[in-house]
Symmetry: C3
Subunit: 139 residues, 3 copies
């Protein structure tokens, strides 16, 4: 049993989902892992993680639209608006999705389903560099 710690940085382009499955697999390959668990942790509270269908890009657009509706931008709804109209909805959307994911690994690959991809979900309107803290534990 051993572990590896690391960090990858993801450039986002305003609101929306970015597929990070490939950079995560690249990191696992570099660490020459076989079997274990990958922990992915996003070090921000206005962007989050989610695992979603990767076949039809419309799913990602519909998902982004849904969170616009359910946690809308508004000057009236929130006290916290000093960082912009999009900041408090970003915190809410983060709390509704994931800050950490734990993904079993076998034969050096995440055991994702056929149609699953791992995404960073950017909730701010402007581009950001998002840091993902990684830990692999296993063999």
């Amino acid at each position: 049993m051993r572990q590896a710690s690391g960090e990858i940085q993801i450039s986002t382009h305003g609101k929306g989902l970015i597929d990070v499955t490939r950079p995560l697999h690249a990191w696992l390959n570099e660490k020459k892992v076989q079997e274990g668990v990958l922990t992915v942790f996003i070090r921000h509270s206005s962007a989050s993680l989610t695992i979603q269908e990767n076949a039809d890009p419309d799913v990602q657009l519909d998902l982004a639209d849904y969170f616009e509706r359910i946690a809308p931008e508004s000057w009236e709804l929130y006290r916290h608006n000093s960082e912009g109209l999009d900041d408090m909805p970003a915190h809410i959307r983060s709390s509704l999705t994931d800050v950490s994911l734990t993904i079993p690994v076998l034969d050096g690959r995440m055991r994702l389903g056929t149609w699953q991809g791992v995404y960073v979900f950017e909730h701010r309107a402007s581009p950001h560099i998002r840091k993902l803290a990684l830990n692999f534990m296993g063999e």
Copy 2:
């Protein structure tokens, strides 16, 4: 320190919650574990995981109703409708609940609270076989 990897399959019967606490404990017993962490990962994006009260079955019905209201079926709301009226709401409901759970284990048992059960939450209208990837790490 050692680990065990595995998979269990759960048959669902259309929308609703299915208690999987017993098959998870059966898997842990089989692996003769004592102390550590169980990772449960669902390899699908239209069914998810949740931990909820297991005492009153009404809680599970109310929870299912809630997600019907908050992410309704609709031909107008979503672009992605080629897989049926229930597919895009299934993806949304999955993103709002859990794709992975990490549960501490002690004395060979998950350290659940008195009233907690682990559930697969089926979001599609028709029955499915759902695969749960498992990893135990510890002693």
Copy 3:
């Protein structure tokens, strides 16, 4: 590679978020850990966990308000009301946030972002003692 298991108890004061970052760091210090993963699991289904911005207390108030709106108290909406008006919304809000968090650790500290804090989110109206099951795995 080694592990440590434990439990901390948090006193809540009715609905709202309580910062538990310091008691978690205190537990890690006590266990003299360096590098690995901390699993935090809440053993209740009417309180939950979340990681959020810790700079502006308004964020936590806005977040609590949001969940009041999205999963309101109501005698009409739910079957399960024998435990009080606030109980079923508490279960729903728990399912929308987190029951378990996995947080990478380096140099003995959780690898949180600059503005991230770990919170217990109490969803019941009255004070409770909430048990967090902890597991650290690593070195």
